[in-house]
């Protein structure tokens, strides 16, 4: 496939390490041909987040959702084995599942009545005549399954690529950060009730960049900090602002994370005065349990640090004032869909769950005190690219001249773009 982007010695990006300059072509955000190539070379080859195991805990549980632009059923069969199948009838193609989630023994295609079990096996159809006896017994009329499904710490990933390396190899260094999320519970994390399904009139890569961008915090989110200042007890009283500088790490295969001190309350185990003395006892106990399970150093890291985790190409886990799992996908070059959830320890104390869900919305979500302003910035970028072809390049150089990158640098975005470039130029 020919990709209509300027191509140089570094591929489609300019990765000038000698001069510490990193440039990305703006046309990568606007071109339908680039998006078509991304579907082929990224969304059809990488591992993609599909679900959390807690959403489908029992045999015959199912979810239907779009993953990487394709309509899937993610389900457990009657034996409880996890599978992912294309939500399209093997007969004439109608979607056989129209509910978002549930529990069922059968998916019945509403068009002609072809019927499948939760493992995708074709089990019956209404006609007595017209097919040879063994027509349906060869397995060729089952729902088509995706190439591979695998789970890491209850995060369910799929890939459409039969030749994909294993999930664990793919995740590379980001497993350390997923572990820190999964280790927040002694018995297992869960997706809580409710979700945020929204959209942005912007290219999907803009949201990836934005989701772990410390540099924009004070300008884009000035009103969020105003809100915290106006809220009694929103900050920990002994907070050391120096810890906000944090660190930024490239975790391989396009994954990256930033990690930094949290001035605000964290329901995993960092109390702030806003939660009152009663809340303090509960949160102190959580912290003690965490220390007993993970040791002092790791427990403190889990409790007191924020993490924004980017998992290539389109999963973000932000472990900040609450814990969000956010995935997004392009609909067209200038429009993306987002699905986001609140993740929590399944054994969480009701008071802490209440803080968590309240906290989540002070920053995150389509009506939070911050996310709508992110949407605005991304849409302003997308509209700014209407000026093409004149200003051609975005600059992502910040921190490139430094040995170490902090939260306000842009190493995490360079990690993404280098992997993007590698896959697109392949």
């Amino acid at each position: 496939m020919s990709i209509p982007l300027p191509s140089g010695p570094d591929g489609y990006i300019k990765d000038d390490r000698a001069n510490s300059e990193f440039l990305v072509p703006r046309k990568a955000f606007t071109s339908p041909e680039v998006l078509a190539a991304e579907r082929e070379q990224i969304f059809n080859t990488c591992w993609l987040y599909a679900a959390h195991a807690s959403e489908i805990p029992k045999a015959n549980d199912f979810i239907s959702r779009r993953v990487g632009g394709r309509e899937l059923i993610i389900s457990r069969n009657a034996e409880g084995e996890l599978g992912a199948h294309f939500n399209t009838c093997s007969h004439r193609g109608a979607m056989v599942c129209r509910e978002k989630m549930g529990n069922t023994k059968r998916f019945v295609c509403p068009y002609h009545g072809w019927t499948f079990d939760t493992g995708g096996v074709m089990v019956e159809q209404p006609a007595d005549t017209g097919f040879p006896d063994d027509f349906f017994s060869k397995g060729t009329k089952n729902l088509r399954s995706v190439a591979k499904v695998d789970t890491y710490r209850d995060f369910v990933f799929i890939t459409y690529n039969p030749n994909a390396k294993t999930l664990i190899e793919y995740l590379a260094g980001v497993t350390e950060y997923i572990d820190i999320v999964a280790d927040q519970s002694a018995v297992g994390m869960e997706i809580t009730e409710g979700n945020h399904e929204y959209s942005m009139r912007a290219n999907w890569k803009l949201l990836l960049e934005n989701s772990a961008d410390g540099y924009h915090g004070l300008t884009t989110h000035a009103t969020y900090f105003d809100y915290l200042q106006a809220t009694n007890g929103a900050f920990r009283t002994d907070f050391d602002p120096a810890t906000m500088a944090g660190k930024c790490v490239d975790l391989g295969n396009g994954h990256a994370a930033i990690e930094y001190g949290a001035p605000w309350g964290r329901p995993v185990a960092q109390w702030v005065p806003q939660w009152g003395e009663e809340g303090r006892a509960t949160v102190d106990e959580l912290k003690a349990n965490l220390v007993a399970r993970c040791g002092e150093d790791k427990a403190t890291r889990i409790a007191e640090k924020n993490r924004n985790i980017l998992i290539f190409p389109n999963l973000v886990i932000n472990d900040i004032m609450a814990l969000t799992v956010r995935t997004f996908q392009p609909v067209d070059a200038g429009y993306l869909e987002v699905n986001a959830w609140s993740l929590a320890p399944s054994e969480e104390h009701p008071d802490v769950r209440k803080f968590r869900q309240y906290n989540f919305l002070e920053f995150l979500g389509p009506a939070g005190f911050a996310t709508p302003d992110d949407v605005e910035m991304l849409e302003l970028c997308q509209q700014g690219y209407q000026n093409l072809p004149e200003p051609m390049w975005n600059d992502i150089s910040k921190g490139m001249s430094q040995a170490q990158n902090g939260v306000n640098d842009e190493l995490q975005m360079r990690a993404f773009w280098r992997q993007w470039n590698k896959l697109m130029a392949a």
């Binding site: 009730e193 009701p350 979500g365």
Partner: protein
């Protein structure tokens, strides 16, 4: 005392006008000190705000801060302010099984459509609203406003940066 639909409508229209005219600091004064302003998840209008992830879950403090935030130039999503229009209809005063109104808490149900226009795009929010009003002088205050989005997702609006 029994309240008429007209009295309640006058109040609801007044609230809508304050929102549409971006008089958010006056808007927040319509709420009681123990007020809540909620937009529950689209799949469960009756969800519990203490356990489920809502779209909006404001107590009076956060409602006040939301109102103040929207007056600032740094509330980027609403700078310049979008153009708003609330249409309110199907107003019903909800009575108990004996057909009686509450004397203090007055539940009111209504439907509304909110149009938000900015940068040549108009987004539409179709809502079923449940309010609990309390008498205040010869008018009311709002103790609870639960805005149920009559939609299965927040696509294509993408955000609720306005007051519904």
């Amino acid at each position: 005392m029994t309240y008429t639909r007209s009295q309640v409508e006058d109040f609801l229209f007044h609230e809508a006008a304050l929102i549409d005219e971006w008089r958010t600091k006056e808007w927040k004064e319509l709420y009681t000190e123990d007020a809540e302003y909620l937009v529950p998840p689209t799949e469960n209008p009756d969800a519990d705000k203490n356990t489920a992830l809502f779209i909006i879950n404001d107590d009076k403090h956060r409602l006040d801060q939301r109102a103040i935030r929207l007056t600032r130039r740094t509330a980027h999503s609403e700078f310049p302010h979008s153009i708003l229009c609330h249409l309110i209809t199907n107003v019903r005063l909800v009575t108990d099984a004996d057909g009686k109104q509450g004397s203090n808490d007055i539940p009111v149900h209504y439907n509304q459509v909110v149009y938000r226009s900015k940068r040549q795009i108009t987004d539409t929010y179709i809502c079923k609203v449940r309010q609990i009003l309390v008498p205040e002088g010869d008018s009311f205050k709002i103790r609870s406003k639960r805005v149920i989005l009559a939609a299965d997702t927040l696509r294509p609006q993408g955000r609720v940066s306005i007051i519904l």
